[in-house]
């Protein structure tokens, strides 16, 4: 399959969904956002506890997460609701960040628009109008090169590095071979796999950026009093059979394939360039924060490889859960989309497992709902933070 069906946006990007996003600027607008999304067909709200009294680097991060999510091509229109104003992360700042995409944007401010009820009224009118406008748009066939694919893993076990991560990596290689791009994040799990990264990186500048990123993440862990290298692999990992951080990280990197070059290093939430290839992005191991940073960078669909099974699901980026563990699939099959355990049971080849994941990605990008989307489970949005509230 060399094409998928998506919504072509004014800036040339292509969405796998056509959502009206009700985006909360701050904790105190969350409830209002939820009310709007509950009333408006095809809308989804993003709520979070941040955007107030954060140290400057953290507020910048919050803005990057919110603006990037609004700019994601899966979002056709955005209504940003704020409670008052936090300098450098106002609804207008976020709207300005998103505006180059050319999509429909509106801002509502509870304080300036006459209080809670009037703001709700205004937001509902915007959202209703946007939903009707977006409903005119149809999916069109677009090349695979329009796909920015995200990969992540969580609740990994022995089967992850041997089956589901490998099948995910084959999918990534296949997308990149057709001109597409992939983002790999989770810097914590680059440690010990440095030789793999150095070999795959296209040039010395990227090699240095990767080395610096790993050193930075290690330094942060040490500053917190936690020596990652002393506690990795974890006790659970050792019980499960993992003997070293190299072994753990190597399994994690499998989901980025074996063929594609690393063509760029990205800071957290940064949008990659147009060049086809694999991009590595700085970020934490926390599943929700990691997939949210990948969504904020513009990824339309993500494969979440999970040995143990999972419920994680991003509000605007379909999150395909794949497991290579048959027991986990049986236990979690109402939210895990795909079972590739046949690889380890000798029922299918690794290549066939890779085809299964690829086909699932193309079908999902073209409109098939993930199991979690059917449940309207939008649990996977989280904003990374590095400091404390002040």
């Amino acid at each position: 399959m060399s094409e998928w069906l998506g919504y072509v946006r004014p800036d040339g990007t292509v969405g796998a969904r056509n959502l009206v996003l009700i985006l909360s600027g701050t904790l105190y607008a969350n409830n209002l956002c939820r009310h709007v999304s509950e009333m408006i067909y095809g809308s989804v709200s993003i709520e979070h506890p941040l955007g107030r009294t954060q140290v400057a680097p953290d507020l910048r991060l919050t803005r990057k997460f919110l603006s990037g999510t609004g700019a994601n091509p899966n979002v056709g229109a955005v209504v940003i609701i704020d409670h008052f104003r936090e300098e450098n992360c106002t609804a207008e700042d976020i709207a300005n960040d998103i505006s180059p995409t050319g999509k429909l944007i509106a801002t509502v401010n509870i304080r300036y628009d006459g209080g809670y009820v009037n703001a709700l009224d205004k937001a509902l009118h915007y959202a209703a109008d946007f939903t009707r406008q977006l409903s005119n748009q149809r999916r069109e066939p677009v090349p695979v090169s329009k796909l920015l694919f995200g990969v992540n893993c969580g609740t990994s076990d022995t089967t992850s590095g041997l089956s589901s991560n490998v099948a995910t990596g084959m999918t990534s290689d296949k997308i990149i071979a057709q001109g597409g791009r992939t983002i790999l994040a989770e810097t914590t799990e680059w440690m010990g796999a440095e030789p793999w990264f150095m070999e795959r990186a296209e040039n010395d500048e990227i090699r240095k950026q990767i080395t610096d990123a790993i050193a930075h993440m290690e330094a942060r862990a040490l500053a917190s009093g936690e020596d990652i290298r002393g506690s990795q692999p974890t006790g659970d990992n050792i019980l499960g059979g993992l003997s070293s951080i190299e072994e753990k990280s190597m399994g994690a990197t499998k989901k980025a394939g074996t063929k594609s070059k690393i063509v760029g290093y990205l800071d957290i939430c940064d949008r990659p360039g147009d060049k086809s290839g694999l991009y590595v992005m700085y970020g934490p191991g926390h599943g929700g924060e990691s997939i949210s940073s990948i969504a904020a960078a513009g990824s339309q669909v993500l494969v979440f490889s999970t040995g143990g099974g999972h419920t994680i699901s991003h509000p605007i980026m379909p999150t395909i859960k794949v497991t290579g563990n048959r027991n986990s699939y049986e236990a979690m099959k109402d939210t895990v989309d795909l079972d590739v355990s046949g690889i380890l049971h000798d029922e299918i080849t690794m290549e066939q497992g890779g085809e299964m994941v690829y086909d699932e990605v193309m079908a999902t990008a073209s409109g098939r709902l993930t199991k979690s989307e059917v449940f309207m489970d939008h649990n996977g949005f989280a904003i990374h933070r590095i400091g404390v509230s002040i």
Binding site: D157, T158, T159, G161, L162, G192, P195, W196, L222, D227, R229, G230, I238, G240, G241, L242, S243, S244, I245, E246, E247, M250, G251, K254, L344, D346
Partner: protein
């Protein structure tokens, strides 16, 4: 016959992703090769590794076709391979760091 999964041809360990292996079991391989058979010298729980070739003390342990550490002792085919007989190649640096930070 019980089996372990081998990923790359250079690998000298296989991973048990099937059923618990008991000491004395005959263990075959599956994955990149199905031609190796060893006798388990130890019990090998689900998820754990078994040596499919001899690995001498100090030699590199390969899984995924890449180093996952070095042998601390001579490891025989059929031995359970884990933290008791291999160590991370980053281990020494970690130890130095730990010693320096432990108060």
């Amino acid at each position: 016959m019980k089996k372990v999964f081998v990923i790359e041809s250079i690998d000298n360990v296989g991973t048990n992703v099937f059923e618990p292996i008991e000491k004395g079991d005959t263990v075959g391989t599956h994955g990149v090769t199905s031609e190796i058979t060893v006798t388990a010298n130890d019990a090998v729980p689900y998820g754990h590794k078994v040596a499919i070739r001899e690995i001498k003390k100090g030699e590199t342990v390969y899984k995924y076709g890449l180093s996952i550490g070095s042998a601390l002792v001579d490891i025989q085919p059929g031995d359970h391979v884990h933290v008791h007989n291999i160590e991370s190649n980053r281990g020494r640096g970690d130890k130095a760091q730990k010693d320096a930070t432990v108060s």
